[in-house]
Symmetry: C2
Subunit: 158 residues, 2 copies
DNA sequence: CCGCAAGTGAAGCCTTGGCAACACTTCTGT
DNA sequence: ACAGAAGTGTTGCCAAGGCTTCACTTGCGG
């Protein structure tokens, strides 16, 4: 039941998964803010600190600090008392993040998760979905859609 | 394309999903450490700070600090220069977390994600999988297993 | 045009989760 | 028995992401 210590052996690659999780997490807030700012610009033509804060469920100084980081990382720009806007890079990220978010929600729903729960859980999960996994999700959804098409349409064609 | 501000209207429930994601995240490290400590105890009969740190991919003071939090939250106990052990509560959490981890990995693999990628992505995703979603995952896996049984075995039975 | 409400900024505090550097204890091999 | 290696603890640093409080700008309604 109780084995010896590994000495000079294995278990060296193990921690890599935690590093990846930490890296993903450090991007999570960036991604959520960029997506949200994109949403607000789409709806209102600008993204104001108060609106960002309200939608993110934080106070306005917290939103301000997050936007500072976005600016520092070249994803957004803003001037005092004016709204926040995305750089090209920020806008591109927003697009990807939005698409990934949708795919994750769709996948969860396809698996059988209630829509409301899917929306809640996806908000956290999405940031840990790698490109490879995202592709697998898309492929699965493609397949699932075909199958239900087959079930719903094809039978009366044959 | 560009509508008016909501004034006194909707969009008030929106931020709840970010709150949930933040709450889940604040549990993530607790969960990973508790699971890891459980693993080490299972393998070696004790969990030492150095081993914990190594497997988590952090330095030992970081692991020490995390264990302090576990103790503060009643999940672990330890005495100076002795190993770290789980309380009943901690052990129970470790069990649940381990099971959830397995389920998430299994689901990803069932969806078509390569095993290695599944392992990496699951480490971050797992913490955002609610009970409802977990149940849906289990149900899906159950179904998927039956279906592949049917495909692989039943045809020659009929 | 002007005063007030709303929006924004700035400062300072807290907690968490990283790190390095250094001090101390335990263990182990000779 | 003991010296050196390994393990552990402590301290102090940093950045991030929350918060409150207070000060300043803006934008409006009258
Ligand atoms: Mn999110
Ligand atoms: Mn999202
Ligand atoms: Mn994890
Ligand atoms: Mn895990």
């Amino acid at each position: 039941m109780q084995q010896d210590r590994p000495e000079e052996s294995e278990a060296i690659v193990e921690p890599e998964r935690f590093n990846q999780a930490r890296a993903a997490q450090s991007m999570a807030i960036l991604e959520d803010y960029v997506e949200m700012i994109g949403d607000l610009i789409g709806e209102f033509g600008e993204a104001r600190i108060t609106d960002i804060a309200q939608r993110m469920g934080v106070t306005h100084p917290t939103a301000t600090k997050a936007v500072s980081r976005l600016k520092r990382e070249g994803l957004a720009i803003s001037r005092p008392y004016r709204g926040v806007f995305l750089t090209d890079e920020g806008a591109a990220m927003a697009e990807l993040v939005r698409a990934r978010h949708r795919t994750v929600v769709d996948l969860l729903v396809a698996i059988g998760v209630p829509a409301e729960t899917a929306e809640l859980d996806a908000e956290g999960m999405e940031h840990h979905v790698s490109d490879v996994t995202l592709k697998a999700f898309e492929a699965f959804l493609e397949r699932a859609t075909s199958v239900s098409d087959t079930i719903e349409e094809a039978p009366r064609k044959g």
